[in-house]
C-alpha cells in the first residue's frame, strides 16, 4: 500500500517541498513589507554551507548539533538579508539589481563556494542530519503513515509556521501594520508605524527562513555540501510567492506541487519508468513559466494580493 506510486510521490512532494516552502514563506514576509528579495537563492546557499559546516564541526549530541546548525543557517541568511535591506531600505537602491547582487555575491560560484573551499566542507558527508521521524510509531500505517507521520522535524515545523504566519499576517495588529507598510508606506508612516523598522525586520526574517530552507538541502535532501546545490530552488520560491498570492496557505500548496515536480525524476527513475531524465529535470522550470503566465494573465488586472508598494523604495519627502 505504502509503495503505491501516488503515495510515494505525495510523500516526497512534501519532503522536497519543505525547503521551497520555507524560502517562499520568507518571501511572503519580505514582500508583504514592500521589499522585493531576489537574493533568496544566495541566502539559501549561504544557509546550506554554514549548516553543513556546523553539522561537521559543532560537538555535542546529534540533536544539539543539528539545532545549532539550523540556527547558524538562519543567522547567516538574515545577515545577508540585512545587507539587502541596507541597499533597498536605507540606500533606496534598485531592489531588483540589489537582490541579484546578493545572489551573485553569495551564490553557486560566490561566497558559498568560497566558504565550502576554505572550510573543506564538501570533503565529508554530513553525518548529523535532519532525519525522518517515526511519529507516534505510525510511520508504517497504510497511506496516512508516509503522508503525515514519517517526516523530518522541519516539515512539522513548517506546518506550524504556516498556521502561525497566517494568523500573524491576518489576525494580529502587527500583521495589519506590516501589510499597511507594504501597501502604502505613506499611510503607514502617517499612522506612526516605523516603515524602516518593519522592512528591515521582515527582510531579515525572510533571509532567516531562506537560510533554513538551504540548510534542509545540505542536512536532509543531499545531505552533503555540493556547490550550487539548490539548483534554482530560490528562484522557484520567488515564483511561489506570486502563485501563492502572498498567502502562507496557498504558498504551502504551491511548494508541494513543485516539490512533486522536483521529486518526480528521482521517484520515476527508481521505478525504471522510461522517461528521459532531462525532460523531468526541466519540468519544474517549464512549469514555473507556465503557471506564472497563467497567474499573470487571469489576475493581471485585479493583481490579487500583490502589495501595492512592492519594489518601491519609500522616501519620506515625496508626497
Amino acid at each position: 500500500m505504502n509503495s503505491n506510486l501516488f503515495i510515494v510521490i505525495a510523500a516526497s512532494a512534501i519532503f522536497y517541498g519543505t525547503p521551497l516552502f520555507f524560502a517562499a514563506l520568507g518571501g511572503v514576509f519580505t514582500e508583504r513589507s514592500g521589499v522585493l528579495n531576489l537574493g533568496v537563492e544566495g541566502m539559501m546557499l549561504i544557509g546550506g554551507v554554514t549548516a553543513a559546516w556546523s553539522s561537521l564541526h559543532v560537538g555535542g549530541s546529534a540533536w544539539f548539533t543539528v539545532l545549532v546548525a539550523l540556527c547558524v543557517a538562519m543567522l547567516a541568511g538574515s545577515i545577508l538579508a540585512s545587507l539587502h535591506a541596507f541597499l533597498c531600505v536605507t540606500l533606496k537602491a534598485n531592489q531588483t539589481v540589489a537582490g541579484l547582487s546578493i545572489t551573485i555575491f553569495a551564490g553557486a560560484v560566490g561566497l558559498s563556494s568560497y566558504f565550502a573551499n576554505i572550510w573543506k566542507v564538501a570533503e565529508d558527508p554530513v553525518t548529523r542530519q535532519v532525519r525522518k521521524l517515526d511519529v507516534l510509531g505510525l510511520a508504517d500505517t497504510p497511506i496516512l503513515g508516509p503522508l503525515f507521520f514519517n517526516h523530518t522535524i522541519l516539515t512539522y515545523l513548517s506546518w506550524a509556521m504556516c498556521a502561525v504566519a497566517s494568523w500573524y499576517l491576518f489576525r494580529t495588529k502587527i500583521g495589519l501594520q506590516l501589510r499597511a507598510v507594504g501597501e502604502s508606506p505613506q499611510t503607514a508612516d502617517a499612522m506612526g508605524i516605523n516603515v524602516v523598522k518593519y522592512r528591515y525586520i521582515h527582510t531579515m526574517l525572510g533571509g532567516a527562513l531562506a537560510g533554513l530552507g538551504g540548510a534542509f538541502y545540505s542536512l536532509a535532501i543531499v545531505p552533503t555540501w555540493v556547490d550550487g546545490m539548490t539548483k534554482g530552488a530560490g528562484w522557484i520560491a520567488i515564483a511561489l510567492v506570486i502563485f501563492g498570492f502572498w498567502r502562507p496557505g496557498l504558498t504551502l500548496l504551491g511548494a508541494y506541487l513543485f516539490g512533486a515536480l522536483q521529486s518526480l525524476g528521482t521517484v520515476l527513475k527508481s521505478r525504471s519508468f522510461d522517461i528521459p531524465g532531462d525532460v523531468l529535470d526541466a519540468l519544474p522550470f517549464v512549469m514555473t513559466i507556465v503557471v506564472l503566465v497563467l497567474v499573470s494573465t487571469r489576475f493581471a488586472h485585479k493583481r490579487i494580493g500583490a502589495p501595492a508598494a512592492l519594489g518601491v523604495p519609500y522616501e519620506r519627502e515625496e508626497r
Partner: protein
C-alpha cells in the same frame, strides 16, 4: 541619536558622476573584499597583487584577459540593452548557450563546403538568430501577458543548460561526436571554420572581441541617434507617456529583448568559433558568463562602450582566477568579488540621486 551624515537630493546630475561612480564602486568593492579576505585569514594585498599580475601585467595575461572579456562584453551588452528599457533580462546565460548551439549547427553543417568568410558570417548570424528567438519568448510573455520577465528569463537559463546536456551527453544528436563513447563531447568543427585572430601591438585579439567592439559602437549610435533609441528612453522613463504619444511599447519590448538575446547569442557563437571549436556543453556552463554580464552592465551604467571597458576589467579578474585557482586561491573567490562589485555598483547609484552631507555642519549652522 542622529546619524552623522544625511542624504540630500541632487537637483541635477553632474557629468563627472558617469565615471566617478564606477571608480568609487570598484574601490568600495575592493575594500569590502579585503574585509572578507582578512576575516577568512588571507592577506588582501597579496591576493589583489596576484590578480593584477595574472590578469593584466604580461602579454600572456592580457591575451587571456581579452579572451575572457569577449563573452563578458556580449553578455554585458545583452543585460544593458534590456535593462535600459526596464526589461530585466537576466537570461543572458541561457541565450549565450543557445547562440553557441546555433553557431555550432551552422559550422558543422556548411563548414566543410562553403567559403570561409561566408561560413563565419553565417555562424555569427545563426548565433544572433538563436539567441534572439530564445530571448523573444521572454519578451513576448512580458509584453502580451505582463509575465515577470526576471523569473521567466532565469528559468530559461536552467532549461538551456538542460538542452545543452541533452544534446551532448544524453542523446546522439547532430552536435555530438559519434566517436566519443566513454566521454561524450561535441563534434569538432573543420579547421577552416575557426575564426581568425589578429595581432595588435603584440597581443592576439580574437575576431569575437572586435565584433563586440563593433556591436558596442552600433548600439551607442542606436541609443544616441536613432528613433528606436529615443523611444527606448521614453518607455524606460514612463511607459504610460510612451503609450500616449503613440509608441508601440509592446513591439519595442519584444524587439529590444530579441536584440538583447542576439547580443548574448553572438557571445555564444564566439565561444564556438573563436575558442572551443565544438559545442562545449560543460565549458559553457562552467563560467557563469551570463550572470557576470549583469555585473558588467551595472558597473558600466548600461553604456555599451563602457561595457567593453568593464568587460576587460572583469575579464582580467576572471582570467586571473582561472590561472591562480588552487588551495591558496579557492574557487568562489572571483565570484564573491564580482558579487561585491555589483553590490557596490548598486549602492553607488545612490550618488546619482543624492549627495552626502555632514549633519554636524548643519547643526552648527542652526546653532549659529
Amino acid at each position: 541619536m542622529k546619524s552623522p551624515v544625511r542624504l540630500e537630493r541632487r537637483l541635477e546630475q553632474p557629468r563627472w558622476l558617469n565615471w566617478a561612480i564606477p571608480v568609487i564602486s570598484l574601490l568600495g568593492a575592493l575594500v569590502v573584499g579585503a574585509v572578507v579576505l582578512l576575516a577568512t585569514g588571507k592577506n588582501p594585498l597579496d591576493v589583489y597583487w596576484r590578480i593584477l599580475d595574472r590578469g593584466f601585467l604580461s602579454q600572456r595575461a592580457i591575451t587571456g584577459t581579452l579572451r575572457t572579456a569577449t563573452p563578458l562584453a556580449f553578455t554585458g551588452m545583452c543585460a544593458a540593452a534590456a535593462f535600459r528599457l526596464g526589461v530585466i533580462n537576466i537570461g543572458g546565460e541561457g541565450q549565450l548557450y543557445v547562440g553557441a548551439v546555433g553557431a555550432a549547427l551552422v559550422g558543422l553543417w556548411i563548414g566543410g563546403s562553403a567559403p570561409v568568410g561566408i561560413t563565419i558570417i553565417v555562424m555569427v548570424l545563426a548565433g544572433m538568430l538563436f539567441g534572439a528567438m530564445y530571448a523573444s519568448i521572454v519578451g513576448i510573455l512580458r509584453s502580451q501577458f505582463n509575465t515577470n520577465e526576471i523569473i521567466t528569463s532565469l528559468m530559461m537559463n536552467y532549461i538551456a543548460g538542460i538542452i545543452l546536456n541533452y544534446l551532448i551527453f544524453n542523446s546522439r544528436s547532430y552536435w555530438r561526436d559519434p566517436r566519443s563513447i566513454g566521454f561524450p563531447s561535441g563534434k569538432p568543427l573543420e579547421k577552416r571554420t575557426h575564426w581568425p585572430t589578429y595581432e595588435i601591438f603584440g597581443t592576439s585579439v580574437s575576431f569575437g572581441f572586435l565584433l563586440a567592439v563593433a556591436a558596442a559602437i552600433v548600439l551607442w549610435v542606436i541609443y544616441k541617434r536613432s528613433r528606436l533609441g529615443f523611444e527606448i528612453g521614453i518607455i524606460a522613463d514612463s511607459p504610460r507617456a510612451a503609450r500616449y504619444v503613440g509608441i508601440r511599447t509592446k513591439w519595442t519590448i519584444v524587439a529590444v529583448t530579441a536584440m538583447s538575446g542576439a547580443l548574448a547569442g553572438i557571445g555564444g557563437a564566439s565561444q564556438v568559433g573563436d575558442f572551443a571549436h565544438y559545442l562545449d556543453a560543460k565549458g559553457l556552463q562552467l563560467n557563469n558568463f551570463g550572470y557576470t554580464g549583469i555585473v558588467v552592465a551595472a558597473l558600466a551604467r548600461l553604456n555599451p562602450l563602457g561595457a567593453i571597458v568593464v568587460a576587460v576589467l572583469l575579464g582580467g579578474l576572471t582570467n586571473a582566477g582561472y590561472s591562480l585557482q588552487g588551495p591558496d586561491f579557492p574557487s568562489g573567490l572571483v565570484g564573491t568579488l564580482q558579487g561585491l562589485i555589483l553590490f557596490t555598483a548598486v549602492a553607488g547609484e545612490i550618488l546619482t540621486k543624492y549627495r552626502l552631507r555632514s549633519n554636524r555642519n548643519t547643526a552648527k549652522a542652526v546653532a549659529a
